[in-house]
Amino acid sequence: DSHIQYERVGADVTMKCGSMDWDAAVTWTANGTDIDESHLNGSYLILKNVDLSQSGQYSCYEGSSWHLKYQTYLRVGTPPKEPVLMCRSNNYPKGFYCSWHLPTPTYIPNSFNISVIHGTKDMVCEKDAVPKNRCHIRLLQLFSTVKYKVTLTVTNALGKNFTTLTFDEFAIVKPDPPESVVAKPVPNNPRRLEVSWQNPSSWPDPESFPLKFFLRYRPLILDQWQHVELSDGTSHTITDAYAGKEYIIQVAAKDTDIGTWSDWSVAVHATPWTEEPKHLTTEAQITETTSASTSSFMAPPTTKICDKGAVVGS
């Protein structure tokens, strides 16, 4: 009989040759290769302190007739550790999703079971086809003070573990980053950059559930970001840019009333408008051009005071 045998890393494994007696003459193979007699105790195969590399197909043949008497597929692995579970609503108020992963691999198949309870009500967590370890829950009730309790249980042949999350509806609201961020120079304005973006497409009803935004920008040559919080609208004009310096710009979003900030958007780069150099021919003009460029680096503007405690998703 052929079947799968699961064993923990480090375990000592003994395999009998099916119904053969202890003292019967047999041959053992691992993935088709004969196993040295030193691993045998009579007709039993003894594997000490197994490791992952010893996973494979083990077969036992009767000594003279070479009849296959026993075959098993050995899977060496570990019991699951406590899974890491995260729940979030990036499409509030439609619903929220929960996703999970194991902190370390088990090397053998695991099965996950998730239960979502709101007060006394069991809620269905519909598994997403992709990504695998994720499911989503429709919010049937809004503005509830009753907490949600999500329990994830992971089981494999070597053990079982679980984790539980308890949270309020509002606490898990975190939009996706803004999309289509564009930054452009403003003609004839050497210190301005026009930035525009769009609400994340996953946010279903920005009119009833408006987002506010956080813009950060800095010249590539400096490390210090400048921030500005915008309570509405999806564009902003930076008016204190260093003339002629390339800028990196990102935007984050948050529901106006609840939840936490999104991660930063994809970074965009832009350089403020600069005057076209005049077409000069004489030596003087070249000198004049050189001296003009060293004076364009002006004193840094005051940093705008961010909103107290506004911490954007990392």
Partner: protein, 195 residues
């Protein structure tokens, strides 16, 4: 059906809604601060689960997006009238128990009560604008609560403030729905479409 929206009524409604949104937003911020102070000073556990307290209007609602504008206003009005009475009672209990020791908490409670009263009046204004009859007060006043122990009073207070914080967010959302221009036929009803 409410009278078709005249431009001035629509403008007036939008103005009332946007002021109401700001008022509810401020109220929520103050209630959240008050909640933190209340939990701390009453020696409660912030994560404690508080069963639904009788007489406290629950903000939780199903199919919220399908509500008509009038439903939103009437449910808000009933809730804030109830909160007005509940907060007044909490204030009274506060003064009986603690005297000067927690004057700060009392003042914060009184300030929130003032905002709840103002918001209640605001809702009545909106209903008047819709030439809707304003339900009488006695229909909404919460039943006199049974005599509670000190700890039960504290837990009830926690429940009241938690629900009020949720209601404030719900009200902001409701008013945003009301502020939307009258939807095309067949879409989710706004105020003008109320039955």
């Amino acid at each position: 059906m409410a009278a078709a929206d005249s431009p001035s009524a629509a403008l007036r409604r939008r103005d009332l809604c946007s002021r109401g949104i700001r008022l509810a937003g401020k109220m929520r911020a103050d209630v959240v601060d008050l909640l933190d102070a209340y939990v701390e000073q009453q020696g409660l556990d912030a994560s404690a689960s508080v069963a639904a307290v009788e007489g406290v209007p629950l903000a939780a609602v199903e199919r919220w997006d399908e509500q008509t504008g009038t439903q939103r206003l009437l449910e808000n009005l009933a809730a804030y009238r109830a909160f007005r009475a509940l907060l007044a009672q909490m204030l009274e209990e506060q003064r009986e128990q603690l005297g000067e020791a927690d004057a700060g908490l009392g003042r914060a409670l009184a300030a929130v009560l003032l905002q709840v009263s103002a918001f209640t009046y605001h809702l009545e204004e909106l209903l008047r604008l819709e030439s809707r009859g304003i339900p009488g007060e006695e229909e909404d006043g919460p039943p006199a609560p049974p005599r509670l122990s000190l700890f039960e009073q504290k837990l009830r207070g926690l429940g009241v403030l938690r629900e009020l914080a949720q209601w404030a967010v719900r009200s902001v959302r409701d008013l945003r729905q009301l502020a939307k221009p009258s939807p095309a036929p067949g879409a989710a009803p706004g105020l003008a479409e109320s039955p």
